[in-house]
């Protein structure tokens, strides 16, 4: 109970003339200033910002920071630990030239595996340039799964990869299993298995993937202009609406739509190139393309400028 009351009971500095006005903090001078009259109320306020700025290229000079990294209390309970730095001067070395107090003491042995996993997740996300919010969501998912212990036997890397996949899905920007495989050492089969187990363990579900989720990524990787991307999105959506491709994976349909759109425009791409980017075999693209080809005139958007007319589209 004390914690909740203390916020009101602690003596709060207020301006004597304006007790209700908000105090503005001025970090440079360390003052708290009343916003109404400008009276300096608090003096010599302690700055809690970092002491030194560290740059990544500054490896040669020692890191002068006297505190550890930013705390991560949400995830790895507390982060408080003491580390012993490398010795300077002669007194820190014993007879044989080895340093006394060797080995910076290990930190937070419980959850070491979790911190390791977080590092792995950050590495994986960096490789495909995922934003910080997805990484945070992944870390949260991993923590939930780890605490539940229902998937304890599985490799932590597999769980981490599956959490990354789920986080991307939940944020509305799904990555294909193959894309996650590309940045992880775990096989697609294992990631798929862990994915299903995690959904069951956390009792959540994810939305079904659609063709439109991947259009912007695939098209920009292929260097296709916005018009072609919009046309491909339209083609794929129409194809699914008209049920021309029942039972086909949305990735394959998206790849076939991109192929059709690019072949009708000035920026033509081969099936092999599209297959490489999308992670589908070119025979798969061929199969899906054959299914959408007969209705090609209906699938293109109305305002599309054809570089190659519809009847001259390649027929495979």
């Amino acid at each position: 109970f004390n914690f909740f009351l203390s916020l009101d009971v602690l003596p709060r500095v207020t301006c004597p003339n304006h007790p209700d006005s908000i105090l503005v903090e001025d970090y440079r001078a360390g003052d708290m200033i009343c916003s109404e009259c400008g009276l300096v109320v608090g003096d010599r306020v302690i700055d809690v910002g970092s002491e030194w700025r560290t740059f990544s290229n500054d490896k040669a000079t020692k890191d002068p920071s006297r505190v550890g990294d930013t705390q991560n209390p949400l995830l790895s309970d507390g982060d408080l630990s003491t580390m012993i730095g490398k010795g300077t001067g002669a007194a820190s070395f014993d007879e044989f030239g080895n340093s006394k107090y060797q080995n910076r003491r290990t930190m937070s042995s419980s959850d070491r595996a979790m911190m390791n996993a977080f590092k792995e997740i950050t590495n994986m996300a960096d490789r495909i340039n995922l934003p910080r919010n997805i990484v945070d969501r992944t870390n949260n998912l991993f923590k939930q799964v780890y605490e539940q212990k229902s998937l304890k036997g599985r490799s932590n890397d597999a769980i981490a990869s599956a959490c990354l996949y789920i986080a991307c899905r939940q944020e509305g920007v799904p990555r294909t299993f193959k894309e996650i495989c590309a940045v992880s050492r775990i096989s697609k089969k294992e990631i798929g298995r862990c994915f299903k187990l995690i959904l069951k363990a956390l009792e959540t579900s994810v939305d079904l993937i659609t063709t439109g989720d991947f259009m912007s990524r695939f098209c920009s990787n292929l260097g296709l202009p916005k018009q072609v991307q919009m046309a491909a999105t339209h083609i794929a959506r129409k194809a699914v609406e008209l049920d021309l491709v029942p039972g086909r994976s949305p990735i394959s349909v998206a790849a076939a739509a991109i192929y059709m759109a690019s072949q009708a425009s000035a920026e033509k791409r081969t099936q092999k190139e599209i297959g490489d980017i999308a992670g589908v075999a070119d025979v798969t693209i061929r199969q899906s393309y054959r299914l959408i080809y007969p209705r090609a005139p209906d699938l293109f958007p109305a305002d599309f400028k054809f570089d190659t007319p519809v009847d001259k589209l390649p027929q495979l």
Partner: protein
């Protein structure tokens, strides 16, 4: 004769080998009987009213054992058994329609529409009498295990038996195959055996006995203990395309549909604990059953749900 002696000591009902030959044609007629009954769903209620139904509650549970054990009047019992099994699935489905947790069963629309069945079925049938699907899942695979109760020398067996392969570096069991019924058995050195590939319970038992006989002929004192069917796989076709995306939206807690991983929807039914693989084409695979009735019950449960997600085109 020594074979018979060995088997007579087993707790299982002992049946001599010859009636099994009778079993198979009986099996066939039973299947025919099934399909002929189900081909005319509308006639079902009237069929029941003509048959003496007073013995039904007694037979429903015991019919299976009776069918498998009796060798005398098997033909007759098969008939009764098939009717009772049909009624079996009806009754089970009624129970399940009430106790099924999140079922979107169309109970309001189907209540009280069974004129001749009301004296027998105590619960309101959700969909049994309105339209039983008229489709019977066909069994495709039965996996069973049996204990031969003696240590076996696998190398010996592999050398002397026909159609046996043994590669200890790859797998620690002898893989033996017989042509009739077309099955494969994994025989382990502990004496335990797994028999797969049979299309019916009787065929699985027959095949397991044949393997046991082979092992016995090679000089091991093989017995036939604890024959148990571990898994049954059935498949059928609902004859219309299905909207899997709709199904996964409404039955989220039971379904898993990941087109990247597998093209079919994996539906884990709770009431008979059965896993169904549902495909866009309308084909359904049911697996995980220990009894034939579980497969039928599961299909009767899923059929109205699938009808609700028929693709209109």
């Amino acid at each position: 004769s020594s074979f018979k002696d060995d088997l007579s000591t087993s707790p299982q009902q002992f049946t001599p080998m010859s009636p099994y030959d009778l079993d198979l044609p009986v099996e066939a007629t039973e299947d025919v009987l099934f399909t002929s009954q189900f081909n005319h769903p509308k006639e079902l209620p009237t069929d029941f009213s003509s048959v003496d139904l007073s013995f039904l509650p007694d037979i429903t549970q015991d019919s299976k054992e009776q069918n498998l054990s009796e060798d005398g009047h098997e033909m007759q019992k098969e008939l009764v058994g098939s009717i009772s099994r049909n009624e079996d699935s009806g009754i089970f489905m009624d129970e399940s329609s009430l106790s099924y947790p999140d079922a979107t069963q169309p109970s309001p629309e189907a209540s009280g529409t069974c004129p001749s069945l009301t004296p027998i079925t105590p619960m309101t049938p959700a969909s049994s009498a309105s339209e039983s699907s008229g489709i019977v899942p066909q069994l495709q695979n039965i996996v069973s295990t049996v204990n031969l109760a003696c240590k076996l020398d696998l190398k010996n067996i592999a050398l002397h038996a026909r159609n046996a392969e043994y590669n200890p570096k790859r797998f620690a069991a002898v893989i033996m195959r017989i042509r009739e019924p077309r099955t494969t058995a994994l025989i382990f050195s502990s004496g335990k055996m797994v028999c797969t590939g049979a299309k019916s319970e009787e065929q699985s038992r027959l095949a397991a006995r044949k393997y046991a006989r082979v092992v016995q002929k090679l000089g091991f004192p093989a017995k036939f203990l604890d024959f148990k069917i571990q898994n049954m796989v059935g498949s059928c076709d609902v004859r219309f395309p299905i909207r899997l995306e709709g199904l996964v939206l409404t039955h989220q807690q039971f379904s898993s549909y990941e087109p990247e991983l597998f093209p079919g929807l994996i539906y884990r039914m709770v009431k008979p604990r059965i896993v169904l693989l549902i495909f866009v084409s309308g084909k359904v695979v049911l697996t995980g059953a220990k009894e034939r009735s579980e497969i039928y019950e599961a299909f009767e449960n899923i059929y109205p749900i699938l009808k609700g997600f028929k693709k209109t085109s």
